[in-house]
């Protein structure tokens, strides 16, 4: 600490040389060696996770990633949250509507009207806010357990599956908080619908 860089060679020019060489070394170390090493270890030890946690059907075709939400247009399936990008996962995003944005408020009112039409048996006072708001990513794979519950009367009516069976299905797929405390209880819509589809067949 008490030595000072007054040795020969500590001039401005040599600083430039060190700066250039340091940049090259760290570009290679942090930009190439680091990510490739991480990729190698991850692919070797945890290939399922490292490749996007894909869900495959019985014949081995990928039907989705358990982490990425899908669009369910058919009302006999459980519906996910609002997605302004329609769950197109080559990109991600939402409208970034402010709480005061009139378009967002109109969209919410429209959702409530649509809900009344499709789910006459469930009053809107039970409709959870999470189900009719846009997720941040537009790819949210989850809904709250309440959001699944309120869809049961509709699905039961459309498919003929007993409400009690659907209840059981939802509670089976309700994931608790991580380590019992972090985050919120949630239901993976894709996994739930895969099992619902099996039930329909």
């Amino acid at each position: 600490m008490n030595r000072i860089a007054n040795l020969p060679g500590s001039t401005g020019i040599s600083y430039v040389a060190i700066a250039v060489r340091a940049s090259i070394v760290f570009i290679i170390l942090c930009g190439i060696i680091y990510p490739l090493t991480c990729t190698g270890i991850a692919q070797l030890l945890m290939p399922h996770n490292a490749n996007g946690s894909l869900i495959k059907d019985s014949s081995g075709n990928a039907i989705g990633s358990e982490l990425i939400g899908q669009k369910f247009a058919d009302p006999k399936y459980f519906q996910g949250r609002v997605s302004s990008i329609d769950y197109k996962a080559e990109a991600s995003g939402s409208n970034n509507y402010a709480p005061s944005n009139p378009d967002m408020l109109q969209r919410t009112r429209d959702s409530i009207e649509a809900w009344k039409k499709d789910n006459p048996d469930v009053p809107i006072s039970k409709l959870p806010v999470a189900l009719i708001t846009n997720s941040g990513s537009g790819l949210d794979p989850h809904i709250t357990p309440e959001s699944a519950e309120v869809q049961i009367p509709r699905i039961s009516k459309l498919t003929g599956v007993l409400a009690a069976d659907l209840e059981r299905l939802v509670s089976k797929h309700t994931e608790s908080r991580d380590l019992g405390v972090f985050g919120e209880p949630r239901v993976n819509v894709l996994k739930l619908n895969i099992e619902l589809q099996a039930l329909l067949k």
């Binding site: 060190i18 930009g31 996007g52 991580d178």
Partner: protein, 559 residues
């Protein structure tokens, strides 16, 4: 469970401060210690490769010159790569070259540790650019900031002529902190389902028979350094809200602690350098107090929800869920927002544009003050700057020459500090005003009314504070925004760093004044109060009018 999970994360953080702080102190104390045996050989190889023959200390001017030169070279290389990424390897999705002003903005954004993103990662960058430009700069900009902070601390706590050797600090920050920690966190994240692959975008046939393309890539490796280096630029457009970047509440907690542990332990490191740990804890307590204030504002505002939606007769008891993810809910979203704007990371797990007005105000406020923990080192320097200012004000009140850590604070230091303190609001308010006066600026606003003011204000606050989060509705990929925010980020970082190194260089040469009963102590409760008061008064005087026009007006209108 809501508050409890927040309290647990806070408790873990506080428990981490001492061990992490001790480790960091030993990295930069330059006294022989056990770490040398593990990292020494690898570091000597790097010193040899970069041609660093002497690791003698530098004056503040040489230190500043060294870090500037290194950053300039990195900027030049990075810019060229973005402009020609189409012709480079590892581009399985065939992404084209990046446009000029966007490349300028992106490069400045990453070298200044801001990570404001006017592009969307999945469509704008090849894997090569994500690795060699983005990840590389996440390391090097963090190491630069960390080194400068340590040099500043050396300057105000030691005597002599030098504040350390930049290249040595820079290398050690990589080899002993950022690289090992990032590899560890990367593997932890992959174990918790964050992808890490070089395969191109996936295509699947959904349950309903539609085709879904899913962007993927080397996400985990970027995710870890993104937080550890308080960088914040996401692999994907929506950042840590994307289920691949942040698949579960557990990864959320890991990401929060990754970005928070180092900034939070820096005050403790400072206490060790000052040979008075109470000094460090006073600074830490002041930061934590301010943090809890802002966290409460954000949390309870989001929990209360959006009055306009609450009035629609649905079950809105969960709070404001627009722009948030179900797995995080309110608590994990608000904690993340409070930490990312405190630690100037700028990563987001919910869309800040959709925050309730007062929630958004909390995020804005933390970046406006820029002293609540702060990014790689910047927050600590800022807080110490306010500490010196506080001492100065108290000195004026009682008519004594102010002293800080046994050194007289004189006009030269105060002028430099005034420059640094005034630069921040100047860089925010002047461009904000310019943006409102021109069509180029106004045209980007996407939310009507008072919220539009918040959008513009947030963009420049985030740039000047080198945070990088955004009210992302703003249509900011235009030459006007790319260039103006690029310049704000550039000046926001370098004016401040150079001024602070100059203060350190000036203090390090001063005669020590022996401590007497008349010495104004800076390690007790009184000073803790003075520090918080100084920060809040200066912050409020500077930013209150802007805040009233934006978030507060929107809040009053929403009811």
């Amino acid at each position: 469970m809501g508050i409890l999970q927040i309290v647990i994360v806070l408790a873990v953080l506080v428990a981490l401060v001492k061990p992490v702080g001790n480790y960091v102190y030993h990295v930069f104390s330059n006294e022989p210690n056990r770490q040398d045996r593990i990292f020494g050989p690898f570091e000597r190889l790097i010193y040899f490769l970069i041609g660093l023959k002497s690791r003698a200390g530098m004056t503040w001017k040489k230190y500043a010159l060294s870090f500037l030169l290194t950053n300039i070279v990195l900027v030049a290389v990075g810019y060229v790569i973005l402009r020609v990424q189409q012709y480079l390897p590892l581009n399985p999705n065939g992404i084209g070259n990046m446009e000029q002003t966007l490349s300028f903005n992106t490069i400045i954004s990453f070298i200044t540790n801001t990570n404001l993103q006017d592009y969307s990662g999945e469509t704008g960058l090849s894997y090569f650019s994500q690795m060699v430009v983005i990840m590389m700069m996440m390391f090097t900009s963090a190491a630069t900031g960390f080194s400068v902070a340590i040099a500043f601390v050396r300057g105000i706590t030691s005597k002599g002529e030098t504040i350390g050797n930049f290249f040595e600090d820079f290398v050690k920050a990589h080899t002993r902190i950022f690289l090992p920690a990032s590899v560890l966190v990367t593997l932890l994240l992959v174990a918790l389902q964050v992808p890490q692959t070089l395969d191109p975008t996936l295509t699947v046939t959904t349950l309903e028979g539609a085709v879904q393309s899913i962007a993927i890539g080397p996400v985990a490796a970027l995710e870890s350094i993104k937080h550890i280096g308080t960088n914040g630029g996401g692999f994907f457009g929506v950042n840590s809200a994307h289920p691949f970047e942040n698949p579960s509440p557990l990864t959320n907690v890991i990401e929060i602690l990754s970005m928070w542990a180092l900034p939070a332990s820096l005050p403790y490191v400072y206490g060790r350098f000052a040979k008075n740990r109470k000094q460090g804890w006073v600074i830490f307590s002041a930061m934590m107090t301010l943090f809890l204030l802002f966290l409460s504002l954000i949390h309870f505002s989001e929990l209360r929800g959006n009055p306009a939606i609450n009035a629609m007769g649905i079950d809105a008891s969960q709070g404001s869920m627009e722009g948030k993810e179900v797995r995080f809910g309110i608590p994990q979203s608000t904690l993340f927002t409070a930490v990312t704007t405190a630690a100037t990371t700028g990563t987001v797990n919910n869309m800040h544009d959709t925050l309730t007005p007062l929630g958004g105000l909390g995020a804005l406020g933390e970046m406006m003050l820029n002293v609540v923990f702060g990014g790689k080192g910047v927050g600590l320097i800022n807080m110490l700057m306010y500490a010196i200012l506080g001492v100065f004000l108290c000195g004026l009140m009682v008519g004594r020459t102010p002293e800080f850590l046994g050194r007289k604070i004189e006009p030269r230091e105060m002028k430099l500090i005034a420059v640094a303190i005034l630069a921040h609001p100047f860089l925010i308010l002047v461009p904000t005003a310019i943006a409102f006066m021109t069509d180029l600026g106004r045209g980007a606003i996407t939310n009507p009314g008072a919220h539009g003011i918040s959008q513009v204000l947030y963009q420049y606050v985030s740039s000047a504070a080198n945070n990088g989060s955004g009210f992302e509705g703003l249509a900011d990929n235009t030459p006007f925004w790319n260039i103006s925010t690029g310049l704000v980020m550039l000046f926001g970082r370098y004016i401040f760093m150079i001024a602070m190194l100059a203060v350190a260089g000036s203090l390090v040469r001063k005669q020590w004044v022996p401590e007497t009963v008349g010495t104004f102590r800076t390690d007790n409760k009184l000073f803790y109060g003075i520090l918080i008061g100084t920060v809040l008064i200066i912050g409020a005087l500077t930013f209150l009018p802007a805040i009233v026009l934006g978030p507060i007006a929107e809040h009053l209108k929403l009811g």
